[in-house]
Amino acid sequence: MDKFPITVNVNGVRYDRAVEPRLLLSDFLRHDLCLTGTHVGCEHGICGACTILFDGEPVRSCLIFAVQANGHDIRTVESLGSTENLHPLQEAFHEKHALQCGFCTPGFLMTLIPFLEKHPKPTEEEIREAIDGNICRCTGYENIIQAVKLASEKMPR
C-alpha cells in the first residue's frame, strides 16, 4: 500500500511523516514518534490505556488510523509534567498512591485533564463515571478517585 504524507502536531511539535493507511495512531505515536507514554492494552477500544487528546478531546488512539490525524492536534501524557516537575494531577496521583504498575495511568491522566477543566469541582459520582472508560487492574480505583478529588483542589482554575 502507498504511504500517505501526513502532518501532525503532537504536544506542540510538528511532525511530517509518511504512513501506511492501516497504521494505528497508537502505534504511530509509540513507534514512529517514540512517544511511548501512551500504552496499548487491548486494541479494541475498551481498556482506555491508549487514551490521548485529539483536538482537545479524549479518544482511543487504537481506534484511529494515523493517517486520520493529518492536520490535527494531538496531546499525549508527555505533554504534562516532567519527572522533576509534575503536573498537579500527576502530583495528586503520586500523593494518593493512585497508581501501582502505572501501565493504565497515562490513559487515566489524559481522560482526566479535560474532565477537570470542565468539572473543576467534581463529585465522587462524577469522578467514577468520568474514569469508567479506563480500566485499572491494580488499584481498585479507590485511590484514583481520591487523587482526582485532590487534583481538583490543586489545579488552578
Binding site: R30, L80, T83, H94, Q100, C101, C138
Partner: protein
Amino acid sequence: MAGKYFGQPILRNEDAQLLSGKARFIDDIDLPGMLHAAFLRSDFAHARIKKIDYSAALKRSGVVAVYTAEDFGDFWRPGPLQVPPPTAIKGSVFNARTLVPIAKDKVRFSGEPLAVIIAESRYIAEDAFDDIIVEIEPLDAVNDLEKALEPGAPLVHEDLDSNLAADVVQERGNYEEARAKADVVISRKILVNRNAGAALENRGFVVEWEERSRQMTVWATTQAPIPLRNTIAARMGLFENQVRVITPFIGGGFGPKIMTSQADDVLLPWIAMKLKRPIKWIEDRRENFLATTSERDQVHYAEIALTKEGTILGVKDVFYHNTGAYDPYGMTVPLNTQTHTVSNYRVPNFYTQIKMVFTNQMVVTPVRGAGRPQGVFVMERLMDAAARELNMDPAEIRMKNLLIPDEFPLRTGIIGQDFVEGVLDSGNYKKNLEKTMEIVGYEKFRKEIQPKLRAEGKHVGIGIVTFTEGTAVGPYEGARVTIGANGKVNVATGISTQGQGHFTSFAQIVAEQVGIDVKDINVVTGDTAHFHWGAGTFASRGAAVAGSAIHNAAVKVREKIFSLASKIFEEPEENLEVGDGKVWVKSNPSQSMLLGDLALRANPTRGTIEPGVEPGLEATAYYGPPYGATGAGAVAMIVNLDPETMQVKVEHFVIVHDCGTAINPMILEGQVYGGISMGIGNAFYEKMVYDDNGQLLSASFMDYLMPQATDMPAKMELGHLVTTTPLNTLGIKGVGEAGAIPTPAAFVQAVEDALHGQVEIMESNLNPSRIFEYLQKKQ
C-alpha cells in the same frame, strides 16, 4: 516496629517516571534491526496436524522467516516441570505432561502455536497468517472435568490411559469416624469458575544475541527473571552469565507472568541466534486470553459434619481441578486449595482429595489467589449451609469454630505448594472477625437496618466471611546492598516487580538500617546482571522473603559502617550513630563522616584490608523461611439487589486484614484495594467461558468484563490488625492476594441474604441472568 522510614506511608520513588510516561515497558524497547514475531495459533482445541505449508508466506515481502515444530529439529522438546509435585505426600499420582513450545503432530488447546512468523513489522507478520495452509484433522475435545475421567473420553495425551493428571489424598484425623458421630452432615456440589489474570499490559519478550561478545540479552515481562534466565541458558547451551534477563517496568503480573518455557521464551532466543537480529514479540489481548494461562476452574463435592451446637467435627472435600492441556506448574494451585479449605477453623478431621484433570483448554497456573479463593469459597459456603441448617447466625457459627492464638503454631498435617507441612504461625482470627463486625455494624444491620429496609421493599443483604492467606513461602531470596561513593545506596534483588512498590518499600527497609533517605536508595529488581540468585515474585512473598533478605543485607552493611567508623574515629561502636547520610560520634556530633566518603574508605587503593573483612560498604544476604507465614482476615459486604432486574450493587465493603508488620501502610492498603476489585470482578463480572468444543467464548474485553470504577463499592473500609510472624525478623506476612481470596464467598452469601435466603447458590461467579435462573428454578 515502625521507625523513621520503616512502617511509614512514604510516597513511591517510581511514581514520577510512571506518571510522566517515561517508564520503559517491554513494548517501548526498540533495537536497531529489530524483527517482529507473531504466532499463528490453532483455531481448533483438539486436532491432529497433518501438514503445515508456509511456502507462500516466505514469498511475502517483509517476511524474514517462518518456523513450525519440524523446523526446530532436536531443539523442540517439552519444557521443564516448572514446579514438581511434593514428594512428601504418600501415594499421590502425578503425570507430568509439560508444555510444548509449539504444537507438533497434535494440537491440545485452542490458541496453541502452530507456526512462528518473523517479519519486518508486526503488521506484516500477521498478514502472513493468511498465507499459511494448515491441514488439520479435528478431534473431539475434552472440557467437562468429570466426563474427562470417564472411560472412553477423548485423551488429551494419548500416551496416558486417562485424562487424570494427578490424584492426591491428604487427611488428618479420621473423617469417617467424625461423620459417624455428627448430628448434622451437609453435602454440596460447589463450582468455582475460571478467571484470567488480565494484567493491563500483555506479555512480551525481546531478545538480542550479540555474536561478538557471545552475550544474549532478554527483556521479558516475567515474574521470575532468574528461573527464566536459567532455563534459557540451559536450553541454548550457554553459561548463565552469557544470558542477561532484564525486566523493564511491568504492567501488572497477577500470576500468569510467572510461567516460563512458553513459545516466546523457548523459540525466540533460538531464532535470534539463527537470524542474528534482535526479535520482539508483544502478545495481543486475544492471545493473552487464549494462550497465556488462567485459573480457578474446579468442581467440589464437599461435606461438613457438625454437632447440633455448630461445632465442626470434620470436613471432606473431593474436587476436580482443571489443569488445562498441560501441567507444567505441577499441583501448586490445587495444593493451595487443600491447604486453604479449612485453615482458619478448628477442623479436627479433614479428608481432601485432588483429582487434577487434563482438558483441551489453556494451561492453568496461579492467578492472584492461586487456589486459595476456591478453598475459602468451598469452606465458607459449607459454613453458610450449616448455619442455615442449624438456624445459627453466619457470624456466630464462624466465631465458634475459628482458631485462637493459643493454638499457634499449629501443624495442619497438610502438605502445601512449598513442599512442607503447613503450619499456621500466628494470628488472631476471632479478632479479625470481631473488628469487621464492628466496622460494618453487623449487629445493628441485622437487628435494625435490614428489617427496616426490607419493610420498605428493599433487597439488602450482608455477607460475612473469614479467610487465611498462606504467604511468604520459600525457598529463599537474596539481596545485595551497596553504599556508593555518591552516598546513595544501590539495592539489588532477584525478584521482579509488577507494581507492588518494591522500589520504595525495599528502600524503606534499607533506609531504616543505614540512615540514608528513601529517595537516595535505588532498588533494582529483575535484572540478572545485578543479582542472579532467587526464585521470583509469587505467592505474596516479595515483601516478606526478598524484604527479609534485604533487611539482613542492610543490617550487615550497618555493622560494616560501625565497624569501619569505629576504627576511623577510634570510638567504640556503641558510641556511634548513623542518619541523614552520615555516621557520627554520639557525644561529639561534629566528629562525623559522610557515608559516601566512608564507602571510599571501605574500598582503599593502598594499604591492606584485615583478614575476615570484605571490602566496600556492601553486603549480600539471603533468607529462606522454614515454612510460609499465614496472613488472615475477615470481610463483610452489604449488597443491594434490584429484585426485578437482579442488578447487584455493593454498597459497603469492609475488610480487616492482618499481614503482620507493614513496611509501608499506604502500599499495603493499595494491594488490598486491588485484590478486592479482582475479587468483585471474579464474583460478578469476570468469567472465562469455554464451549463444549474447547472454544473460548470470552477472549476480549467485550465479553470478559473487567471491573470498572462504577462497579466498585460505594463505601470501602479497611481495618488492620498486626500479629507479627515469628518467621522473620521484620514480622512480615504477605498481602498481595488478600482481597481476591474472600470476596466471591462474601458476595454470594450477601446475595443469598438479599434474596431472603430463598435460594442457595453454590457457584462462585454470578451475573443477574444467573440469579434470575436460580429464582425461576425455585418457583
